[in-house]
Symmetry: C2
Subunit: 456 residues, 2 copies
């Protein structure tokens, strides 16, 4: 599949550019990530680590009762419905992370294509189906359902053959699919990655030492891809004072100079403009800076500002605006910063900018942030999600429907697995990962001890 | 906590006997299991394996972009509501498996006690609270809410501070809690272990070789604890013929000789009697044998018989009867056995009785059973659930609400954990399991390679 997608060459990138407005370099990078994800999961499948082979040997003479022979492995949960995202036409779409993780787990996948990039989806789906055929996989391994209708998506999730759902998109869309899944005669898990404002705390020492470079880094992260990232830094928090003002002025200047980019769809652009206007109209909120006027489809970046007491009084001020806009919140002191963070719902990420002198303040916040977010960053920006074993792209509700997992990195395979135990089965009936002769040479946990280097 | 419960001595067992009707030996065994579970989870906590410490080291010179330092651990999901089961007043109740797993994960626990054994629950709850106090744990680590009302349970699950639910009980009760949890502003996971008939397939060679001993083993498993086990063998399947008839006759004789035991509550006894009478009244179903007439509170064991075509026409014939009753189903051939198994909903267990000559038949069934059940047994009986790392006590819906986990054994801790990733944090801000100096001496996966023997 990875080879087939890479072999699509420039026409795939150009089709995606035409359908999404995203620039070539970004899409070439996203294609590399998509291909890399598929190869990463292929390596994971070959390693067998996901099987989690666990063996408790029989103890025939144990008193008062003998212990049976118990052998556990993890198996595919069943067919998975995957909903492509608008903002990642490759990496979170037809052959994106959810598809790669579900296929790696051994689950057939049915993709509901996103209507914002139908041609891109079709090209990738054909490459995947060709790989299914040439690889000799069962015909039903991968199916692609293009179409704009939300009824199609609901029908897919309601289908009794579907056993799990992967979704990346809006909160409204995710909540709707959660309701369908919970209302089935057989409820099924939904892994919906929905929304976040990804709070960034600018601690006093960091603000004092480098407000200008912080502002530059912030605006670069905010405006990347027209701000259309689930990890966009949408909420900045600092203690009121001249250092925060200096940051705000530098950020405002960079925002005014930012070049507006075309957004993914007219609907997304309209909703963004509406969200910014609505926030700007709220009492206590001011517009600190707005980017240059945008052409058709484009969206000017925007920095808004308020005080923490307003957000504490009306938590909706901290709702996500999907696009290049952020709210800068001035707090009276660290106690108010803490109260503000405590008031937030679940987040994909939370970021601290700190100097060495801030470490004692940061130490008080890290445990709070670990309750709120799936990933905690220091001195970085949350956009850019590394595809790696230690990555967590997830977080408590409403960032996702299910904070117990990650949609990026190898951990994602666990969303589509369930455990099965085999008790006292004759060797010939055991699946290969659990046979005494260990024909797949897996690292297995036997009577609680990991055998990491099984003889070959 | 384990010591405190053991120290309650005979008064605990005698209180449980009075409240449940279960015999002393059974309750002493259950107490040993309860104490053992708590110690097993204590060992697991000390091992740190549940933290799953995973580190991807920074690659500052990687092209086109440097890789950040990423460190992942698993943390407690938050306060857990646990609902005690009627049929295990100790091992699946106040300080049972769910409580042990949730506390081990670091979650505060609020137990809704089962109204069928209020005194037993109170004694155990006091022992646990005393251990919380003497161990210097936070006051809110453990709370106990006794009371018969289902409103109390619903209010507990609806409370926004609760982040997960563990339940063992009826399908109606589990489904009700699932609805409450899914309808919250913040939906939360429910781990409900609900119902199963635990199909047992008697393959031809085994039937021919040992129908009498199979019948004896079956009736012993069926009537154990008055059949009040979620793993009770409620559905037996064999190919029609003289060997199956011989099994049925031997089983019927043993059923007739079986001694009726007092059931847990009058309500459970009445529902059992109703379920048996309703099944016996269905077309095509006959009563093969009934145990001796029972005294007050008691329930006679019952073996019913039908043909596979009747169950295929009306799957409700295979619904659980909670108590010492089973349905023996005669199939025309192996194809019909397969169709019958395929028609069943998710199960906690599935069992094959086989001789060497049956292995080719069994090999065709094992993959099907792995889709249907959490545990597959050969030549045993499903009652008796070993508390061990490889155990899976769970299974696809409707056996449980969530087939991705186990409620028995160390795997259960994962139900109450979620992953958190720390990106580029200064060493001083990292939690101990992820610090470079590895102060807890944990086995950690670093750049994909497990370091199983960290230097001490």
């Amino acid at each position: 599949m990875a080879e087939g997608i890479a072999d699509l060459g420039a026409p795939l990138v150009e089709r995606a550019m035409a359908e999404t407005g995203l620039p070539r370099a970004r899409l070439e990078g996203e294609r590399a990530r998509t291909v890399g994800q598929l190869r990463l999961f292929a390596d994971l499948v070959r390693s067998g680590a996901w099987i989690r082979a666990t063996i408790d040997l029989a103890q025939h003479k144990r008193q008062p009762l003998p212990r049976p022979d118990l052998r556990r492995r993890h198996v595919a949960i069943g067919p998975v419905a995957v909903f492509g995202a608008s903002n990642f036409p490759l990496a979170f779409s037809v052959a994106g992370g959810d598809t790669a993780a579900a296929l790696a787990a051994g689950c057939p996948v049915v993709v509901k294509g996103h209507p914002a990039h139908p041609g891109t989806g079709e090209l990738v789906a054909r490459a995947v189906r060709a790989a299914v055929a040439t690889g000799g996989l069962p015909e039903g391994t991968f199916s692609y359902l293009p179409g704009p209708s939300t009824d199609l998506g609901s029908a897919l999730v309601a289908d009794p053959r579907i056993k799990a759902v992967g979704f990346t998109g809006s909160r409204a869309g995710g909540l709707a699919l959660m309701r369908v899944a919970a209302g089935r005669p057989e409820p099924i898990p939904v892994y919906a990655e929905m929304s976040a404002v990804n709070p960034v705390v600018l601690l006093p020492g960091a603000l004092r030492a480098r407000s200008a470079s912080l502002a530059a880094g912030f605006v670069q992260s905010l405006t990347l891809g027209a701000g259309q990232f689930c990890t966009n830094p949408g909420l900045l928090i600092g203690i009121a004072g001249s250092d925060l003002d200096a940051f705000a002025e530098a950020a405002a200047a960079a925002i005014r100079e930012s070049v507006p980019h075309t957004m993914l769809t007219p609907d997304i652009r309209d909703r963004f403009a509406h969200a910014v206007a609505a926030l700007a109209a709220r009492p206590g909120v001011t517009v600190a800076a707005r980017g240059a006027a945008a052409g058709p489809g484009g969206a000017p970046a925007c920095l808004l500002r308020t005080e923490a007491r307003h957000v504490l009084a009306d938590p909706a001020l901290a709702d996500e605006m999907f696009g290049p806009a952020a709210l800068l919140v001035a707090a009276a002191d660290m106690a108010e910063v803490t109260r503000l963070l405590e008031s937030l719902g679940g987040q994909l990420t939370a970021t601290l900018h700190l100097d060495r002198a801030d470490e004692h303040l940061a130490a008080g916040l890290v445990p709070l942030l670990a309750r709120k977010a799936g990933r905690i960053l220091a001195n970085g920006w949350p956009t850019g999600v590394e595809v790696a074993p230690a990555m967590v792209h997830g977080g408590p509700f409403p960032a996702t429907s299910d904070g117990r997992s990650s949609s990026v990195g190898t951990l994602a395979i666990e969303r589509f697995l369930r455990p099965v135990c085999y008790q006292d089965l004759p060797d010939a009936l055991l699946p290969p990962p659990l046979r005494p002769d260990n024909p797949w040479h897996l690292a297995r946990r036997i009577d609680g001890v990991l055998d990491p280097q099984p003889g070959r």
